[in-house]
Amino acid sequence: MAAPIEVLITSDVSGQLWNSCIWDLNSGASLSCYKGDATNHRSLCILGGQYLLGASCTKPLINVWALQRREQHQLKMICAGKVNSLTVTHDGTYCVAAVAENIHIWQVCTGNLLVVLTRHYQAVNVIRFTDNGSHFVSGGEDNLVMVWPLASVLTCIHNPSVKPEPLRIWSSHSLPVTDVHVGRGGAQSRVVSSSLDQTCKIWDIVSGDLLQTILFPGSVLSVTMDAAELRVFAGSSSGHVYCVHLYGQPIKFERHVEDQDPEGVICYKGHSKQVTCLCVSMDGSKLVSGSHDSSVKIWDIFSGQCIRTLPHKGHVTNTVIVPTPQAVLDPAVKPTLPLQSFKRHLVSERRDDTGADSRVLSLRIPSSLGREQKFEENLFDNQDGSVEMGTSEASKEELKRLKVINRELYTFAVDNILNKQVT
C-alpha cells in the first residue's frame, strides 16, 4: 500500500486508549499511537517531522515522543505551569508555549528558555505560527489577539531595557478568543480569530486592518481555513460547523429561475456538543472536526456529508493534519534533531553561573541532509561529472587563487571605507 501523503493526529482529554493517535485520513485506519497522559487543547505538534510534542492536560508537563518509537515511554519536560497552548516553528527551531498569561519561547536544540513575554492580561488560549515561522499569533482570555514578530522578539533577549512589543494588537473581540488560524503567506497572511462573543474576525497582518467580522448564531470555539483560503470553517458551541465562503457568488452562465437550491454547503451538522478543533486536509477536500461529544468526524467539504466518525474516549482536544512524517512509515529512521530538555529559567540568568557569553545565540544548522536534498545532489552529480574529475592538486591551486582574490577584495574594501570616513 502506498503511504498516505498526509496523516491525521488526534488526541482526547481522557487518554484512556492512547494519548494521541495517527490516522490514515482516507481509510480511517490507525497507523500508530502514543501512550501516557493526555494532551491539552491546541497543544499537540510535530517537531521537525521527528518528535511529537504534547502538553499535559493536568500537570505542568510537556510530553515528547520520538515518532518512530511507538510503544516506548515518552520524555517529560517540566514547565513553569500548566501549558494552555503549544506550538513549534515549521523547521523545529523554536518552541512556543502559553503558560497562564505568559508566553515562553525555547530554543529546541539547546533547550534554553530565551524569553518570557508578558503582554496578555489573562490566560493565553492559543498560539499559532505563520507558515514561514516569522511571526506567531496569540489569542487570549483577555479578548486580545496579538501578532509577534519572532525575530524582533528574540533580539530583545540580551537587552533587558527593551521590552518586546507585539507588531499588532487587535482588541475588538468582546469576549475571550478561543481559536486562531493563520493563513498562507508568512508575514502577509490573513488571520482568522474566533471568540465566545459569537464572531469570527478576519485580520490582515500587513496593514493591521480588520477585514471582516462574521456573526454566528452561537459561540465559536474553533476556526480554520482551507489552504487556498476559499472557505472559513467555524465550529460552534451547538455542535454545528459553519462554512463561510471567501469568494463572491460564482458566475452562472445560465440562470434558471426555478433553480433555487443553494450552491455549496452552509453548515455541517452531526456533532451533539461543542466543536473544539477543526482542520482541513491539504487538498482542501476534507474537513476534520473534533468535539466534546468524544468523536472526530471527517467530512466531505463539497457535499457536506460525514464520511467517517472516529470514536474517542473523552473530549477531543486536538486534530492536526500534517504531511506524513518519514518516521511514521519507517521505524528505522533515527531522529537527527538534537533535542534538549526545556529549561525553566531564562537563559540570561544562567549566564552568571557558568560565565558563558550570553551574546552568542546558537543556531541550528541541519546536521544531515534530508532525503530530497540528497536526491538533488545525486542528480547534479550525474549531469555534470566534470566537477568530480578535477584532481586534488588542481583544486588546491584554485583554492589558493581564490584566497588571493579574497584578500585583495578585503583590502580594497577596508581602504575605501577608511578613506571615505577620513575625507
Binding site: Y121, N143, S171, S172, P176, Q198, D209, I214, H245, C267
Partner: protein
C-alpha cells in the same frame, strides 16, 4: 389700387428726390437766389418721412427645438457656453447668470455638461472683469460644486487647479484676491483633491504673502502698499486659508491610518451568518479596496499623490522650512506693544485687542497644524522624520517669541461700533484661554519623552495649566479647549517632571471631569483621557485612588448619558470591558457597583432597554467577567429573558454568555447552583410569584383529575395583558436545551432541573404548562436518566391529555407544536403510549365524572384520527387496551352518562368505534 394715391413706384421716386436734395444743395441755393420763391407742393405729394424707435427684444422669438431647456431669454446651454468667451464683459456676465438660471432650474444638465461648465468657469477665474469673475464663483461654482461628487470632478481637476494657480499668481491684485474665494470653495468641497495638488498650490500660496530673497531659501514677508486692503487683513485671509488647507492635509493622511483603529468601520463589515443561504464574504484589506475604487492609480496616483508616508514627511518638512519663519515674522509684527527694555520681565499678562488676538490665534493654529502634520508623518519605526528635525531647529525662536509675553490676555470689550464692520474679516473671537492653551500645546510638542533636558519655560506652562484647570470652566468652546488641555497634559505626563506635579495636575483635571455635566462634550474628552490612562500603558500616571474612583463612577455615569449621549455610553461600556479584562476589576466587587450594575438589567426601564443592540451585547458581555454572580442579578436576568424588550438573538447571547461563564467557573458550587437554577427558571416559563398568585386566586383551575398525573395549569390571560408569548418560550427552551448539551455533566444538570420542577409541583400543587412543555422538549434530545423517567412520563401524559381536552390556547399552531412534542416524547419512552391508555382505562374503571368520560373519549378519538394512528397500530398491546376500553365503555355507557351530554358522548363513541374498526 385707388386712383389719386401715388403708386409705390412714385412714392419711392419722391423720397429718392428728397434724399438727393442734400446732394443738390448747391443747385438749390442757386435756385433760391434766382427765384426766391418756393414751389408749391403738389396736392398729391405724400409725406414719406418716418420716425424710428429702438425695439427691445426681451425674449427670443426663436421657437426651434422645444425639448431643450432654455433660459428666460431663450438661450439654450450651448449658446450660453459660446457667450462665455464673448469679448464683451456684459455678455459674459449675462452668460454666467444665464447658466446659473438654467442649471438651478434643470440640475440634470449639470451631469451632462460638466466638462464645459468646468472649463468655462475655470477660465473666468482670471477674467479681467470683476463682476464676471465673482459671478462665476458666486453663481456657478457654488451651484455646481455641492451637487457633484469628488469622482466626477477628478478628471477636470488639473484644469481647475491650473487656472487657479494662474489666478493666484496674476499680476492684477484683484484677481489674486478673488482667487482665494475659489480656493475656499475647492477646499470646502474637494479637500482630498486639493491635497493631491498641494505642491503647486501651496507654493503659490506662500508666494502671496512673502517674497523669496535672492536665490536662497529664506523668504520674507512682503507688504504691498498699493493694495486696497491692509497687509494685516490680507495676511489674515491667507492665514485662514492656510489653516483650512493644512486641516485638509491632516484629514487626508488621517484616513490612511485611522481606518486601522477599530470601531466605526466595524459595523459595516459585519456579516450575519444565516442558516438559509450560502454566506459569502470577500475579505481584503483597505489598500486593495483603494486600488479598485480609485481611478487611474497607475500613473496619476503613483506620481502625483503624496500618499506614501515618506513623501508626506518630506513635503511637510519643506513646508515647515518655509512656513515657520514666516509665521514667526508675522507673530513679531502682530504681538502687542514693543518690547521696551527693562520692562520685559513685567510684561507677562499683556492685553491685546481682539484683532491682533485673532491674528495671533491664526498663526498659532497654523503652527499647531504643522506640528500635527509632522507627527502624522512619523513612521512607526523609530527613525526621526525630517519634519521633526526641521521643527526642532526653530525651538529657540519659538521659545523667545511665543513665550516672551506668555500668558496673553485678550481684550474683547474694546470694540467700538465702527470697528465692528471690519470685524467680518476676523473669523471668530478668540478667548485668551484658547490662545494661551494653543501656545502651551505648541510648546509642549518640544518635550521629548524621558529626556533629561531642562527647559526653563516648563514650570511656567505647568503653572498656567494648573490655573486654567482650577478655574471654573464653563465657557464656550469647551470641547476644543478640553481636547487641547488633554493633549498638553498627556505630553506633560510623559516627560520627567516630578511626580507631585503630575499627580496634582491630574487631580485637578479629575476634579474638573467630575464637575462637567454628563452630556457635555468636555466630559467626553476628559473621559477619553482617563480611560486611556487606565487602559493603555501609562498606568502610572493615575494614582490608584483616582483610577478606582474613576472606574466605579462609570456605573453611575452610564444611566445618565444613555439617552442623550449614546456615543459616550458605548465608550463607557468599552472601558468597563477593557478594565475587566485587564485585571483592574477590583471595583466590580464593591456592593455599590454591583447594585447599580444589577439595575442595568431591569427589563422595564433599566439601561439595557435603551441601548442599541450592539451595546446591549457589550453590556451582556460584561456578565462574563463579573467576579461573582448574585441571585438577585440572576432573577433580574430571568425576567429580562422573558421580557419582550430584548431581541431573541440578544437573549440567546445572554444565556450563552452565562453558559460560557459556567464552563469556566464550573468548579465552584455556588456558580453551578445559580446557573442551573437560572436555566430551570427559564424553563418554567413564568415567574413563581405569578404561579402562586394564580393557584391561590383560582384553586379550581388545577383540579387534580385522574387524567393528569401531573396537574397542569395554564394561566389565564388577565385583562389588558398581552397573550403569553409562546414563540419566545419555544426559543428559550431550545436555547436552554442546547446549552445543557454543552455542559460536561449534562445528565446531572438535567436531573437537577427535573427535581426543581418537581419541587415546584409539590409546593404549588401544580405546574404551569410552559414548564411541562420545556421539560418534554428538553427530554426529547436527551437520553433520559432512569431516575427521572417516571416523573417525565407522567408529565408527558398530562401534557398530551391536557392538550387534547382543552382548547384554551388561542393559537392552533402553538397547540400543535406543544402536542407534537408531547406525542414524540411519549413514543420515545418505553411503554409510553401504552401507559397512557392504561391510565385512561383505570380512571374510567374507578368511576370517572362526566367530564372525565368525555375527556377520555376525546383523547381516544383524537389519537386515532390526527395522523397518530400509526403510533397505536404498531403496538399490539395498546390496541388491546383500546379494545378493552371500548368494550367497557360501551357496556356501561348509557347507564353512566347523563342526558345532557349523552348526544355528544354518543357521537364521540361512534367515531371512536369507527376508527378502531379501521
Amino acid at each position: 389700387m385707388r386712383r389719386g394715391e401715388p403708386s409705390v413706384g412714385e412714392s419711392l421716386r419722391n423720397s429718392f428726390q428728397d434724399v438727393c436734395a442734400h446732394g443738390l444743395v448747391v443747385v438749390k441755393k442757386l435756385n433760391d437766389r434766382k427765384w426766391q420763391k418756393k414751389l408749391k407742393k403738389a396736392d398729391n405729394v405724400t409725406n414719406a418721412s418716418f420716425k424710428s424707435r429702438s425695439i427691445q427684444i426681451s425674449q427670443h422669438l426663436k421657437t426651434g427645438d422645444s425639448t431643450q431647456p432654455v433660459t428666460k431669454k431663450k438661450h439654450n446651454i450651448a449658446e450660453l457656453f459660446s457667450h462665455c468667451r464673448h469679448y464683451s464683459p456684459s455678455v459674459r456676465h449675462e452668460a454666467v447668470t444665464g447658466l446659473k438660471e438654467l442649471l438651478s432650474e434643470n440640475p440634470q444638465l449639470i451631469d451632462g455638461h460638466l466638462p464645459d461648465i468646468i472649463e468655462k468657469s475655470a477660465e473666468m477665474f482670471s477674467d479681467k472683469d470683476s463682476t464676471v469673475r465673482r459671478g462665476a464663483v458666486k453663481h456657478l461654482l457654488k451651484l455646481v460644486f455641492p451637487v457633484i461628487s469628488e469622482k466626477q470632478i477628478a478628471p477636470f481637476f488639473p484644469l481647475v487647479s491650473a487656472h487657479l494657480c494662474c489666478a493666484m499668481t496674476h499680476i492684477n491684485d484683484d484677481i489674486k484676491m478673488d482667487s482665494l474665494a475659489v480656493l475656499d470653495l475647492l477646499l470646502d468641497h474637494f479637500p482630498k483633491l486639493m491635497v493631491t495638488k498641494s505642491s503647486q498650490v501651496l507654493t503659490n500660496f506662500i508666494e502671496q504673502i512673502s517674497r523669496q530673497q535672492g536665490q536662497g531659501q529664506s523668504r520674507s514677508l512682503t507688504i504691498n502698499p498699493s493694495s486696497g486692503t491692509s497687509s494685516m487683513k490680507w495676511r489674515l485671509l491667507v492665514m485662514s486659508r492656510l489653516q483650512k488647507f493644512l486641516k485638509a492635509v491632516l484629514v487626508f493622511h488621517g484616513e490612511n491610518k485611522d481606518v486601522a483603529s477599530e470601531g466605526e468601520c466595524d459595523v459595516n463589515k459585519t456579516l450575519d451568518f444565516l442558516d438559509s443561504k450560502v454566506n459569502c464574504v470577500q475579505a481584503f484589506s483597505q489598500s486593495y479596496h483603494a486600488l479598485w475604487t480609485s481611478p487611474g492609480y497607475l500613473l496619476s496616483m503613483a506620481s502625483k499623490v503624496p500618499d506614501s508616508s515618506s513623501s508626506l514627511d518630506s513635503d511637510i518638512s519643506k513646508a515647515v522650512q518655509t512656513l515657520i519663519p514666516l509665521m514667526l515674522e508675522c507673530w513679531v509684527e502682530a504681538t502687542p506693544g514693543s518690547d521696551k527694555p527693562g520692562q520685559s520681565g513685567k510684561h507677562r499678562g499683556q492685553a491685546c485687542d481682539s484683532t491682533s488676538a485673532g491674528m495671533l490665534y491664526h498663526i498659532l493654529c497654523v503652527t499647531r497644524l504643522l506640528w500635527e502634520c509632522v507627527h502624522r508623518g512619523q513612521k512607526p519605526d523609530h527613525q526621526t522624520p525630517e519634519g521633526l528635525v526641521s521643527m526642532f531647529k526653530y525651538q529657540r525662536e519659538f521659545e523667545t517669541h511665543f513665550l516672551s509675553k506668555f500668558p496673553y490676555m485678550v481684550n474683547n470689550a474694546v470694540t467700538s461700533g465702527k470697528k465692528e464692520t471690519n470685524k467680518d474679516l476676523i473669523l471668530e473671537k478668540v478667548s485668551g484661554v484658547t490662545l494661551n492653551l494653543t501656545v502651551c500645546d505648541i510648546m509642549t510638542n518640544f518635550l521629548q519623552p524621558h529626556s533629561h533636558q531642562v527647559l526653563d519655560w516648563l514650570p511656567l506652562v505647568i503653572r498656567y495649566m494648573m490655573r486654567v484647570l482650577s478655574k471654573d470652566g464653563s465657557q464656550k468652546g469647551g470641547k476644543h479647549n478640553a481636547s487641547l488641555v488633554v493633549k498638553i497634559v498627556r505630553r506633560l505626563c510623559l516627560t520627567n517632571i516630578s511626580d507631585e506635579e503630575v499627580s496634582s495636575l491630574v487631580n485637578v483635571l479629575y476634579h474638573r471631569y467630575q464637575q462637567a455635566s454628563p452630556t457635555s462634550a468636555e466630559k467626553t474628552v476628559f473621559f477619553g483621557f482617563f480611560a486611556d490612562c487606565i487602559l493603555k500603558e501609562g498606568n502610572a500616571v493615575l494614582s490608584l485612588e483616582v483610577a478606582n474612583s474613576f472606574l466605579s463612577s462609570l456605573a453611575e455615569l452610564l444611566p445618565l448619558c444613555v439617552q442623550d449621549n449614546p456615543g459616550m455610553a458605548s465608550l463607557i461600556l468599552h472601558t468597563l470591558r477593557m478594565a475587566c479584562v485587564q485585571n483592574c476589576s477590583q471595583f466590580m466587587v464593591e456592593p455599590d457597583f454591583l447594585k447599580i450594575f444589577c439595575s442595568f438589567f431591569e427589563p422595564d426601564h433599566g439601561v439595557i432597554s435603551h441601548l442599541p443592540p450592539l451595546d446591549q451585547r457589550q453590556l451582556i458581555g460584561l456578565l462574563y467577567f463579573l467576579p461573582r454572580l448574585q441571585s438577585q442579578l440572576l432573577k433580574m436576568l430571568t425576567s429580562l429573558c422573558r421580557h419582550s424588550k430584548l431581541n431573541e438573538q440578544e437573549v440567546t447571547f445572554l444565556i450563552q454568555v452565562l453558559q460560557n461563564r459556567y464552563i469556566k467557573h464550573g468548579e465552584t458550587s455556588q456558580e453551578a447552583i445559580l446557573y442551573v437554577g437560572f436555566l430551570a427558571n427559564i424553563l418554567t416559563g413564568m415567574p413563581q410569584k405569578d404561579l402562586v398568585e394564580q393557584t391561590g386566586r383560582d384553586p379550581g383551575s388545577h383540579v387534580r383529575t385522574g387524567l393528569q398525573p401531573v396537574p397542569l395549569v395554564y394561566p389565564a390571560v388577565k385583562e389588558g395583558q398581552k397573550p403569553y408569548d409562546w414563540h419566545r418560550h419555544f426559543t428559550l427552551v431550545k436555547v436552554v436545551s442546547t446549552m445543557m448539551s454543552q455542559c460536561t455533566n449534562s445528565v446531572e444538570v438535567f436531573q437537577v432541573i427535573v427535581t426543581v420542577v418537581e419541587k415546584l409541583m409539590t409546593t404549588n400543587g401544580c405546574i404551569p404548562l410552559q414548564a411541562v412543555y420545556g421539560l418534554c422538549k428538553m427530554a426529547e434530545s436527551f437520553s433520559v436518566p432512569p431516575a427521572c423517567t417516571p416523573i417525565l412520563k407522567n408529565a408527558c401524559i398530562s401534557l398530551v391529555t391536557y392538550m387534547f381536552t382543552c382548547e384554551e390556547l388561542a393559537n392552533p399552531n402553538v397547540a400543535e407544536v406543544i402536542l407534537n412534542t408531547g406525542c414524540n416524547l411519549l413514543c420515545q419512552m418505553e411503554n409510553g403510549v401504552e401507559d397512557m391508555f392504561r391510565l385512561l382505562l383505570n380512571t374510567y374503571n374507578t368511576g370517572a365524572s362526566v367530564e372525565e368520560v368525555l375527556a377520555i373519549l376525546k383523547v381516544c378519538v383524537k389519537f386515532l384520527t390526527m395522523k397518530r394512528s400509526h403510533l397505536v397500530q404498531c403496538n399490539p398491546e395498546t390496541v388491546q387496551l383500546m379494545m378493552e376500553l371500548q368494550r367497557v365503555m360501551r357496556s356501561k355507557a348509557m347507564s353512566n352518562v347523563e342526558e345532557s351530554v349523552s348526544s355528544e358522548s354518543e357521537k364521540l363513541m361512534t367515531q371512536f368505534e369507527y376508527h378502531l374498526s379501521l
